[in-house]
């Protein structure tokens, strides 16, 4: 590979990790261009959207190169975003060669700050916390805690089999609703609405909403639109899951009103 292509490959790989882990578009674009500049490439074009990176270097010369990467929306991993940020800072201060940068990137790619057990517990604590904040009692929070744990286990398993995100959101919220309503019908004396709200909070599209707005604000209307659409559809999927489950319980209970 000619040198310009190697540099392009590095820059675009860094951008790919960043984009996949939940970085904003302007951050990815800036990182890629800064790395290209740091290694002395003058003539470049970089275009980033939510699902892909397109870049060319030295178009008019012998060693022209162009690359396209398809980047599906992945799991949010802010540690990777922070680490790649650090790496790009080091590259810009000309502290590392291309091979070193590749090695560091490989490390970033595999880094995660929490194991599966921690994720499951965190999901439980998050659900319980929100149940309490939104008006549940401590008793309700405890129920929400277990539903949150159940939800995260389900999400991890479904993620392993590459289930579609829509299906995961619908089934996840249905699972939480079913759990809560079963306990309610069994006479556990819980405030079923607060428990459900606490339980579905981990599914709520907070990341897509925030990133979408930041993309729009950075002038990346297409990418911002994709993210906001994602947020809207995720919200609707949650509503469908919850609604369908309530309806099923209502039908089973002979039309009694549940709350």
């Amino acid at each position: 590979m000619s040198e310009s292509k190697e540099i392009l490959n590095l820059a675009i790989s860094v951008g790919e990790v960043l984009l996949k882990s939940g970085g904003e578009i302007y951050r990815v674009q800036e990182t890629v261009t800064r790395i290209l500049e740091a290694y002395g490439i003058q003539d470049y074009h970089v275009f980033v959207i939510t699902n892909g990176i397109f870049a060319t270097v030295s178009e008019q010369q012998e060693d022209a190169g162009s690359m396209v990467r398809y980047v599906p929306i992945g799991e949010v991993n802010l540690k990777r975003v922070a680490e790649v940020n650090q790496l790009s800072r080091e590259i810009c201060e000309k502290k590392c060669s291309i091979t070193e940068a590749h090695e560091q990137l490989e490390q970033c790619r595999n880094s995660a700050s929490a194991g599966n057990l921690a994720l499951v517990l965190a999901c439980g604590v998050g659900s319980a916390g929100f149940c309490y904040l939104l008006g549940g009692r401590i008793y309700d929070s405890m129920v929400s805690f277990f539903l949150g744990i159940l939800l995260e286990i389900f999400l991890l398993l479904a993620g392993k089999y590459h289930a579609s995100r829509f299906l995961m959101n619908i089934l996840g919220s249905a699972l939480v609703t079913a759990g809560s309503l079963t306990l309610y019908v069994a006479g556990a004396g819980i405030l079923s609405d607060k428990v459900i709200i606490g339980g579905i909070i981990p599914l709520v599209p907070g990341v897509a909403l925030t990133t979408g707005i930041r993309d729009l604000f950075g002038g990346d209307y297409l990418s911002g639109g994709i993210r906001l659409m994602d947020a809207l559809l995720t919200g609707m999927c949650i509503a469908i899951g919850v609604g369908a489950m309530i309806k099923i319980f209502q039908l089973l209970g002979g039309g009694t009103l549940l709350l």
Binding site: G22, K79, A82, S113, L119, G126, R214, F217
Partner: protein, 148 residues
């Protein structure tokens, strides 16, 4: 009051874990989330509705996230995404679909509109927070560095 602060902090830290925030930033993320929730509670206790309270809370969150990102040399997303979770309208989504299923369309539309309003308020809050130029925050980071 104290329980609200502690619980919102714990819940935000839980989301920080879910999104793989670097361990060193857990506490700051939790603090940011708690501040956002406190602002929200304060505004609603003064009689503003949910959407207006959400604007102020997200504005506070965004500014603090940007300050923290300058001081800690972290991308501001780290603090913003985790902090915003206390304000995202999960309640609205639930009640909208609940009333839809219960065939109470009037309530359903009211709740649905409120959900959209709160989402819109969060959008506005973040945008206002992002309007201040980055150089101010960079300056703040430098001042902080000199002190430490």
């Amino acid at each position: 009051m104290i329980d609200q602060i502690l619980v919102s902090m714990a819940a935000t830290i839980a989301f920080a874990v879910l999104f793989h925030v670097p361990k060193s930033e857990y506490l700051l993320c939790g603090m940011n989330g708690a501040i956002g929730w406190m602002v929200y509670l304060f505004c609603t206790s003064k009689g503003t509705g949910g959407p207006v309270a959400s604007i102020w809370a997200t504005l506070a969150l965004t500014l603090i996230a940007r300050i923290l990102s300058a001081v800690r040399k972290m991308p501001s997303t780290v603090f913003l995404i985790t902090g915003i979770f206390t304000l995202v309208p999960g309640t609205g989504i639930y009640y909208t679909s609940y009333y839809l299923v219960m065939n109470d369309l009037e309530q359903c539309i009211a709740k649905g509109m409120e959900t959209f309003k709160i989402a819109g308020a969060i959008v506005l809050g973040i945008i206002f927070g992002l309007m201040l130029p980055q150089s101010w925050f960079n300056q703040l980071g430098k001042v902080w560095k000199r002190k430490v």
